[in-house]
């Protein structure tokens, strides 16, 4: 990667030894959509470290917020089910939509935040790894079932899926 030299501009990444594992943030986003939070969120966090994102702390906080928010929404939904407010299949699906929208919103925010850094990284000659697609496929179609069944609790399913 080209040396920046002299003065450093605020939005420029500081890639380290892990930079060879950095991928386009589209893949963690797709991982979040197809595989679940267990795949997408840690991947965004790792990518931020790998590329040396100047906004990595903000990205980690967003990933953490996504998990905490999912946990709270999940707990709220379970309370509503127990109280009998959510009963029919359609009501459950409407209720689950809030959780999906929450995760997608944070996923898009993370994507946009990280994409700006990755574009600059590539602009100065940084090369992205191409293992994104296989990881998404393996995560979504092979590992997802195992991760979800790892803890036999509805709350776990709601948070990590």
């Amino acid at each position: 990667m080209a040396q920046y030299g002299g003065y450093r501009i605020e939005d420029e990444p500081r890639p380290g030894a892990l930079a060879k594992w950095a991928v386009s943030p589209f893949w963690p986003l797709l991982g979040l959509m197809l595989g679940g939070a267990w795949l997408g969120l840690p991947w965004f966090v790792f990518n931020a470290i790998a590329v040396g994102s100047p906004t990595r702390v903000r990205e980690w906080l967003l990933a953490g917020l996504c998990l905490v928010g999912s946990l709270l929404i999940g707990l709220g939904l379970l309370q509503l089910v127990e109280a009998g407010y959510i009963q029919s299949q359609a009501q459950i699906q409407y209720a689950l939509l809030t959780l999906v929208v929450w995760k997608l919103a944070i996923g898009y925010l993370l994507f946009m935040q990280q994409n700006a850094t990755i574009e600059i990284y590539q602009y100065y000659g940084g090369v992205l790894n191409r293992f994104g697609l296989p990881v998404v496929l393996i995560g979504a179609f092979v590992l997802k079932g195992m991760v979800i069944k790892w803890v036999p609790a509805t709350l776990w399913y709601l948070v990590v899926s």
Binding site: Y4, G5, G6, Y7, I9, E10, D11, E12, S88, Q89, A90, Q93, Y94, L97, V100, V101, L104, A105, Y108, L109, M112, A116, I120, Y123
Partner: protein, 307 residues
């Protein structure tokens, strides 16, 4: 190296649209003189041109901190505010700028841009005329007038000003692009394409020329055309608004599917599911196809430059 020399070098490179070179010179300058307000402001202008808005905003803050009375810092601040769609803030900086530099046509053109972006097309006529009055032979002023008349639907006058701009500065990219758009409107797709290539030969990174070329490509394909219109519509919104729009579309889709299934129309819901899947696949594939065809066009431009 002398800081004055580096600053002049940066100005020259910026004028030639060589943003990387300008940034390199400014990096060297700021490494030895980190408090240079002018260097920070100029760096912000370069970064805005490369669409690095957040870094540009930081550079503007540093420039204004170092010298709050520097016109260039207010100009850069207005550009950053426009890019961030903070139009009120942009207006404030432009008002200060016009007080400081009432004879600079660039400032009037920026004010006109702001008016046009905020849907005040007719109001933008006055600053554009003022800019033209200050520098009647400046090709950029003539092009701005051509763009104004094109936006107003007065094609004849748009054509006339674009021609005048080309007389003032042969090969002016902006004028060529306006003429290309006028040809495209008349249905002359090949003529518009030639103008886009012509403009890209002058400057291979010109965004307006690329916009024209992509519009031409989109016109020749319904598939890409739909994507182009959707993308343009989305890009007119800020990032957060675009996210909201996408999520709203998703929510509407899901609510419709769930409701239809619950009301006993699972087959209709299935059709909508497939349509949504098609839409998702389309938005994923279209940019790749589009970029590929664009790269092919640009390869021709590179060849012509060598020629």
């Amino acid at each position: 190296m002398n800081t004055d020399y580096l600053l002049q070098l940066a100005y020259q490179r910026l004028q030639a649209d060589h943003y990387d070179g300008a940034i390199d010179a400014l990096r060297q300058l700021l490494a030895s003189d980190p408090d240079s307000a002018e260097a920070h402001a100029l760096l912000a202008v370069c970064l805005i041109n490369l669409r690095r808005v957040h870094a540009a905003r930081r550079e503007v803050q540093l420039a204004l901190l170092a010298d709050a009375q520097l016109p260039l810092a207010h100009y850069a601040a207005a550009q950053v505010a426009i890019a961030l769609r903070k139009f009120k803030l942009a207006q404030e900086h432009l008002t200060q700028l016009l007080d400081m530099e009432p004879l600079n046509p660039v400032n009037y053109r920026t004010l006109a841009d702001l008016y046009q972006l905020t849907g005040r097309l007719e109001q933008s006529r006055e600053p554009l005329e003022k800019a033209l009055e200050l520098a009647p032979d400046d090709a950029s002023n003539l092009v701005a007038m051509a763009q104004f008349y094109r936006a107003s639907g007065q094609w004849g006058q748009a054509h006339q000003f674009a021609r005048q701009a080309l007389q003032a500065e042969p090969g002016h990219t902006g004028a060529v692009v306006v003429l290309g758009h006028l040809l495209l409107r008349e249905g002359d797709v090949e003529g518009a394409r030639e103008h886009a290539i012509w403009a890209l030969q002058e400057n291979a990174n010109d965004r307006a020329a690329l916009h024209l070329l992509t519009a031409v490509k989109a016109r020749s394909s319904l598939f890409l055309g739909t994507w182009w219109r959707f993308n343009s519509w989305m890009s007119e919104r800020s990032a957060s608004r675009a996210i909201v729009v996408l999520l709203l579309m998703f929510v509407v889709y899901r609510v419709v599917v769930i409701t239809l299934t619950a009301q006993g129309y699972p087959q209709v819901a299935q059709v909508i599911d497939w349509l949504w899947l098609g839409f998702a696949a389309y938005t994923f594939a279209a940019p790749q196809i589009f970029r590929h065809s664009l790269e092919k066009e640009l390869a021709q431009v590179k060849l012509s430059r060598e020629f």
